[in-house]
């Protein structure tokens, strides 16, 4: 498969959020605003690319019976690393995503890509697969975040175009389900129809 195809596959046909329905917990919880969705997506992208590369590298020497624990340790390491880096250099983003960064460890997208792709493909292909799926996740989260922020707070990326409050329900959990559901319908109808 060409490198370009590996990336578009993660964006459209295998879009983790709208097609595979993976990683729903961070999707619903962190997309309260566009910037939060974008940061969460990028954080996951970072972990996904690094863990995909590391796992494709070590897969041949990992005995089958312990491969899950080994992968989890590798993923957890990258997540903790990311946590240190965010705390040190982007404390404001870290403050707003807080709890959900450690939860990337158990995000099924990351382990899913390790199991389904990285452990039987080359390091370069795995990196591109990570970028593709990660971008797909980032894009989906950002779109959900934008829609929820417009409806819920009357602003985009923190820039307010509407005085007062929006429909507050969209900032809270019920709005997350509604927006995710409708976007999923639209995505599957128009983008990924094949």
């Amino acid at each position: 498969m060409s490198k370009f195809k590996l990336i578009t596959k993660g964006l459209v046909k295998d879009n983790p959020t709208f097609v595979l329905l993976l990683g729903m917990c961070p999707t619903l919880a962190t997309t309260t605003s566009a910037i939060n969705g974008l940061s969460m997506g990028l954080a996951t992208l970072f972990v996904l690319v690094l863990s995909n590369m590391a796992i494709s590298l070590i897969a041949p020497v990992v005995p089958d019976k312990v491969h899950i624990p080994v992968y989890i340790v590798v993923i957890a390491t990258f997540v903790t690393l990311l946590q240190f880096l965010m705390q040190a250099f982007v404390p404001s983003v870290y403050a707003s995503l807080g709890l959900f960064i450690p939860l990337i460890v158990v995000n099924c997208i990351v382990l899913g890509r390790a199991e389904a792709f990285a452990n039987k493909n080359s390091i370069v292909d795995s990196a591109f697969d990570g970028i593709g799926v990660g971008l797909g996740f980032t894009l989906s989260l950002t779109v959900i975040g934008i829609v929820r922020e417009i409806l819920g707070s009357g602003s985009i990326f923190g820039w307010k175009f509407l005085a007062g409050d929006g429909m507050l329900a969209f900032v809270m959990a019920p709005g997350a389900f509604l927006v995710l559901g409708y976007l999923m319908v639209l995505f599957n109808k128009f983008v990924a129809k094949k």
Binding site: T32, P60, V62, P63, K65, V70, V73, Q87, S96, L168
Partner: protein, 184 residues
């Protein structure tokens, strides 16, 4: 493809994975510890200076009990006389702990407040950090003349729209700080 799952292989593999990962983490921890500490210290320092009148000499952190919890406070002195106190106060908000810094002048009036950390809902309770009307009312709030409770509870504090729980937690944090200051 993969090596045989013998006991020896599994032990070696798990051990070396964990060893390399811990070494990597220890390294990054050592590298980022300084910037993290500096960032945290800066956040704390900014919030202390934001809630105290300018020009005072700031003391080191000292322990104090606020609302039954151990906390810390800073004193600002001018010519040896304490003019204001900055007290760190934590209560439970809607989404988790809400920690604020409360600046109180020596006569017991609230000088200003500032949010240190919170886990409130974005767009709702999180406004305790951005809503100008809510934040401005704390400047010069005199607990001797006004009641430290939200209007819903017959007090004088204007709550944030649709965020009564956060506003109550915030008000309680200020109240605890005011009361703790009396013990000084």
């Amino acid at each position: 493809m993969a090596v045989q799952s013998s006991l020896k292989n599994m032990v070696i593999c798990l051990f070396s994975t964990c060893f390399i990962c811990s070494a990597l983490l220890a390294g990054v921890y050592a590298l980022t510890k300084k910037p993290i500490d500096e960032t945290n210290a800066k956040i704390l320092k900014d919030s202390v200076s934001a809630v105290l009148p300018e020009g005072g000499e700031l003391s080191e952190a000292a322990p104090i009990t606020v609302g039954g919890q151990p906390s810390e406070y800073y004193v600002s002195t001018k010519n040896g006389e304490p003019v204001a106190y900055a007290i760190k106060s934590t209560t439970v908000g809607f989404g988790g702990p809400l920690t604020i810094m409360v600046g109180i002048t020596a006569d017991g009036t609230v000088y200003n407040t500032s949010v240190l950390s919170h886990a409130e809902t974005p767009g709702l309770g999180a406004k305790c950090n951005t809503d100008e009307k809510f934040m401005a009312q704390w400047k010069g709030f005199n607990p001797a003349e006004k009641i430290l409770a939200v209007k819903k509870d017959n007090g004088d504090v204007d709550a944030i729209t649709a965020s009564t729980i956060t506003s109550r937690a915030y008000t309680l944090a200020v109240k605890n700080a005011v009361e703790a200051m009396k013990t000084l």
